[in-house]
């Protein structure tokens, strides 16, 4: 394995990419999910304007994740994508519809309502499909000799439907706390009002999933029971974050709820990782089984170390440029 373990480095990179994607595309998908419930059309304009400058940068992490998985852990790519064949299609279709809606809604007048639906529907579909991916990962995949052998709808179970709606609620929470931060007046008041309800929904789903998971996965059951004093820290921190959101929404603090929501996601994500480690294609294959050849991992790592800092810097810069509130009638349409 040499002086440093390439597999671990790559696992770190992919994990970093996934959480970056979830946090960043999460709030802009969430804005889309909340779109039909917005108080009025002006509010919808503000909501869309608040994410328009950054959404496509957010989605680059998904494409990078897809290509990076193929390069570093091809087994994940070649088992999970076939297992989720229909789900992946739905996610992509959703992402395409909402992506195009961003561009054309601002330029449309009479056809604007169509792009509204395209944006809301596409965002919801993509979020649900991603949540189902998480659920299917917890449940595991039916494999023989490193090949998926299950059916086309194995990924669609009561459990994955729950995780699908769970992630939709989570993204909506990211979206509503983002709107709190980026808006003012009646739009901000609306976002303040719905946020505690969303927290309750997310916590509810979170609790059901936590109680349910040990029953769908023996590994998790065993690990949770034997190491509860260590692993238990993560859900505790997640719940603490949830409490912070509600507390600071009451205090009408603008920035903290969004940061606390991100905290909830990070701790939940870490909780999932330590529960499943080192299985990347549960229940049979670890990240070492899934890895590509070390020379291939190294070959790509060189380029990645060069490009990713540039992309991160660019991302930070565009968020900095577009900092501050978005107001009604402002923007670029």
């Amino acid at each position: 394995m040499g002086p440093f373990d390439l597999n671990l480095i790559w696992a770190g990179i992919i994990a970093f990419g996934i959480i970056m994607y979830v946090l960043m595309d999460g709030f802009d998908l969430g804005v889309g999910i909340l779109f039909p419930f917005a108080p009025d059309n002006d509010a919808r304009d503000v909501m869309m304007n608040s994410v328009a400058p950054v959404w496509d940068g957010n989605e680059t992490w998904l494409i990078l994740g897809g290509a990076g998985l193929l390069a570093a852990f091809p087994l994940v790519y070649s088992i999970i994508l076939p297992a989720l064949y229909i789900g992946v299609f739905l996610m992509l279709a959703g992402l395409i519809f909402r992506g195009v809606a961003f561009e054309f809604r601002f330029k449309a007048k009479s056809s604007r309502y169509l792009w509204d639906w395209s944006f809301a529907g596409g965002s919801s579909l993509a979020a649900f499909a991603q949540g189902a991916v998480v659920g299917s990962y917890i449940e595991g995949y039916n494999t023989v000799d490193k090949v998926f052998v299950g059916g086309p709808f194995d990924w669609l179970t009561p459990f994955t439907v729950l995780t699908g709606f769970g992630l939709m609620a989570g993204y909506a929470l990211l979206g509503s706390t983002w709107i709190i931060m980026k808006s003012e007046g009646y739009i901000q008041r609306w976002a303040y009002r719905i946020t505690p309800y969303l927290v309750m929904v997310v916590l509810g789903v979170f609790a059901i999933i936590s109680l349910w998971t040990p029953f769908v996965d023996e590994l998790v059951q065993h690990r949770w029971l034997s190491y509860f004093h260590i692993i238990g820290i993560l859900p505790t921190l997640a719940v603490l974050c949830a409490w912070k959101i509600i507390h600071y929404v009451r205090k009408r603090q603008e920035g903290v709820p969004f940061v606390a929501t991100m905290g909830m996601f990070v701790f939940t994500f870490l909780g999932l990782l330590v529960s499943k480690w080192p299985y990347v294609v549960p229940p049979n294959y670890t990240l070492y089984d899934a890895a590509s050849a070390p020379e291939s991992q190294l070959f790509l790592l060189v380029g990645l170390l060069f490009v990713v800092p540039v992309v991160v810097a660019y991302t930070a810069w565009s968020y900095w440029i577009f900092r501050g509130k978005v107001r009604v009638g402002e923007g670029y349409h």
Binding site: A52, L70, S78, L81, I96, S296, V310
Partner: protein, 480 residues
């Protein structure tokens, strides 16, 4: 009838990749044209080049954006439909595809924003540099993706251990046998596409007497480009063909419709290949010409399709005819290029309505030629996925059923039909709006840094009445 997941996956991949390909094919050429315009502007200081460049950057933004959207789908296709192939070749395909993606993102992050939104905010020299880097970047992207594709035709630098390809020599794998010619052929095809679209759009404006001075120059530049590139592409294509003859003889045999190895083979202009009987049903050809082209000798031997076992032959009719479509369009381009040269005399090239009208129609042909060329080379590799190493049937996802593949195939067709109809409709609106739409400067802080938002034209009917009005009033906004 049993639905065949292999066939349906092939059709689906062909569909999504063809749809994706038409956008980058255009942007690669267009990026260089824009860089060239910016260079001219920097040297001559003529504001006319800036106006032309502004217009084409708007077009570039929309086309690039649609390329990105359709590209998201591509990065998942290998996993969903060709998982055995993905798993076996990941050691090579993974890094290649990732580098392609990285290059595209690096480009977008570093220079595209400047090109789309930085005019007037950065020094002209920096702006030109950004335009140049976008052009170079599209080329680097092409480099990686064509290396990956060429490797599937002429794999090199690998050894197979436990059914998995391991790369033992990266330079041999990346610069594999067919890569240099394929790359050159493709880059030139992109330049030709850019040139012909610029020709077509300029001709369309000239026919309507709009912004004559600017579009005359654009037409002149792109016609020179066409005159140089169209014949050169024929030569490069010939070398690419010779390379294929060496490494994939059965593909060349199928392109020529030549079933039996023979000397003095005619160049078939028309034939109905009959794969079941391993012969052509009806032939019209020019004697000796195929031998002459492929071996540079009148009596030279050309390999026959039937040297390859029937089950390892590509579908001959498709390869044969798509090749002819590509070549015919290439010849048509050369004809237009030469006609353009003849019409230079007295500036007729921008005044003759029949020529301008012809050029307008030519705008669509490079896309057809490029797709026909890709169909020739890709179907010509069939039934292999990695030539000589892995077949399509071996590479397909084992759990994929015909029903699933049909579902997503229909799904992609429907989604693309809706989304890209909107995109292409919007593009035609930009063309209609033309150079005349002078855009009010919006402070940079309020602008998103995304490709498609680099355009300002309205999506539906509101603005149209404006320039219809101005069209009736003769040349709008005066001449330059």
């Amino acid at each position: 009838m049993e639905l065949d997941p292999v066939l349906l996956s092939r059709i689906q991949f062909a569909f999504v990749v063809s749809f994706h390909a038409i956008f980058p094919v255009f942007t690669i050429g267009l990026a260089s044209f824009i860089a060239f315009l910016e260079g001219l502007r920097l040297r001559t200081g003529n504001p006319l080049y800036e106006r032309l460049s502004k217009f084409w950057i708007e077009v570039f933004a929309v086309v690039f954006g649609m390329g990105v959207v359709s590209g998201i789908v591509m990065s998942f296709q290998f996993g969903t439909n060709w998982s055995n192939f993905a798993q076996a070749t990941a050691n090579f395909m993974g890094p290649m595809l990732s580098y392609e993606v990285l290059t595209a993102f690096f480009l977008e992050a570093a220079f595209l924003g400047v090109l789309l939104f930085g005019r007037g905010k950065v020094p002209p020299g920096v702006f030109f540099f950004a335009a140049l880097m976008v052009a170079v970047g599209t080329m680097i992207s092409t480099f990686w993706i064509l290396s990956a594709n060429s490797w599937m035709h002429t794999p090199g630098g690998f050894e197979i251990r436990d059914g998995t390809f391991h790369i033992v020599a990266w330079s041999e794998a990346i610069f594999n046998a067919s890569f240099p010619w394929r790359f050159l052929h493709m880059v030139m095809a992109s330049f030709l596409t850019g040139a012909l679209v610029v020709c077509a759009v300029s001709a369309w404006f000239l026919l309507r007497n709009r912004e004559v001075e600017a579009h005359r120059r654009a037409l002149s530049m792109s016609l020179w480009m066409l005159l140089f590139l169209a014949p050169a592409q024929a030569v490069v294509g010939d070398f690419h063909g010779l390379n294929t003859l060496e490494h994939q003889p059965v593909k060349v045999a199928a392109m020529e419709g030549n079933w039996e190895r023979a000397g003095g083979v005619p160049l078939l202009l028309f034939a109905l290949p009959d794969q079941a009987n391993q012969t052509n049903r009806f032939e019209v050809g020019i004697p000796y010409l195929a031998s002459l082209i492929l071996t540079h000798e009148l009596g030279g031997e050309v390999p026959g399709i039937n040297e390859t076992a029937v089950e390892e032959q590509p579908p001959v009719a498709i390869v044969f005819w798509s090749f002819r479509v590509m070549v015919a369009i290439g010849l048509l381009m050369i004809a237009f290029a030469i006609t353009g040269l003849i019409l230079r005399r007295g500036g007729q090239y921008w005044q003759k309505p029949w020529f301008l009208k012809g050029l307008t129609y030519m705008g669509i042909t490079p896309f057809i030629a490029v797709l026909a060329g890709w169909i020739t080379t890709e179907v010509g590799r069939s039934p292999w996925l990695v030539f000589g190493e892995m077949t399509q049937a071996q590479g397909v996802t084992p759990s994929l059923t015909g029903g699933m593949a049909l579902f997503t195939l229909i799904g992609y067709v429907v989604v693309y039909a809706m989304v890209f109809t909107a995109g292409i409709y919007y593009l035609t609106r930009i063309f209609k709006a033309g150079l005349e739409t002078e855009h009010t400067a919006i402070p940079q802080v309020e602008r998103p840094k995304r490709p498609l938002s680099g355009s300002h034209v309205s999506f539906d009917d509101d603005q149209e009445s404006d320039f219809r009005g101005s069209e009736q009033g003769g040349t709008p906004h005066g001449t330059l």
